[in-house]
Amino acid sequence: MSRTEIDEGDFSLPIVLPELVVTPTHTQIFMFSAVTWNRHHIHYSRDAAIAEGLQDVVVQRALIGNYFVRLLTNWLRDSGEIKNISWKVLSSAVPNRKLRCQGVIASHESAAAADPGHLACEMTMINDAGETVATGRATVCIRDFS
């Protein structure tokens, strides 16, 4: 079902966001390096990555952030926007390994208590071995919140 806005009644906290599952590929990692003009060899040369003690080429820190953004925008659609987002990479993500991105909105953003449309979301990204690859936090602003 296509949807452009969050359904009414979706705002009782906590809100568990629909999980986003992504599987980064060598091609996507290459494309992301290309559009960000990131020539760091750990993102395209498996030999170089292994020589640096990594398992394979690694998913960019910046791309990890975009997976969290997609988790949020898949839920927000046209109903709001991301005001800020932070994330921390805890272990390397590598190609062809599934990543599960999960998020929970448990509270209103305390720094913007005067505006109940600001919600705080806690996020985690877990690989197929159950290891936490990244954690994140975001503030989203819901338009016409009531």
Partner: protein, 160 residues
């Protein structure tokens, strides 16, 4: 700042570099493809025109495409890592640590964005495999009217 850092590193902290780049619809489309975002608001002019944005807008973290200098390969360190973290700490292997991103507005095709990049801090931390050097780079993105578009505080980790 850590006074035990090499002098050249201490001198690099606080140095700001500025650039200006005009964003095209093609840049936005390519970035959306690279992150796997298929929303037509990023690539379909007709769809975007009828949306509340009235035209194509970029995904929230689009400014990541503007972060690194267009340095030629011979200017980069041997590992190809970005110039923004090319400071002479006694550790060569770099990985991304994390990011704090503030989004003031979405980028549109035709925006001219000024990019101001500053190495804010370098400090050390004891890791499991030895001493880690933590580099913090701030990048501010403003539009041609001087209004903020986004700000990023990115952390990189270098180890021996």
């Amino acid at each position: 700042m850590n006074s035990t850092l090499p002098e050249a590193v201490q001198r690099a902290i606080g140095v700001t570099k500025k650039r200006r780049i005009e964003v095209t619809a093609r840049d936005i489309n390519r970035f959306a493809q690279a992150i796997g975002e298929m929303n037509p608001i990023h690539c379909d002019q007709d769809h975007a025109r009828s949306s509340r944005y009235g035209g194509i807008v970029a995904p929230p973290l689009f400014c990541q495409t503007l972060t690194y200098e267009d340095a030629s390969p011979d200017q980069l360190p041997a590992d190809g890592s970005p110039l923004e973290i090319a400071v002479p700490v006694p550790a060569m292997r770099a990985v991304g640590g994390g990011s704090e991103y503030t989004i003031h507005r979405l980028v549109r095709a035709g925006d001219v964005i000024e990019i101001k990049s500053t190495l804010k801090d370098v400090h050390t931390k004891q890791g499991r495999s030895g001493l880690l050097y933590i580099l913090v780079v701030e990048t501010e993105f403003t539009d041609s009217d001087g209004r903020p578009v986004a700000t990023e505080l990115a952390t990189y980790i270098k180890r021996a």
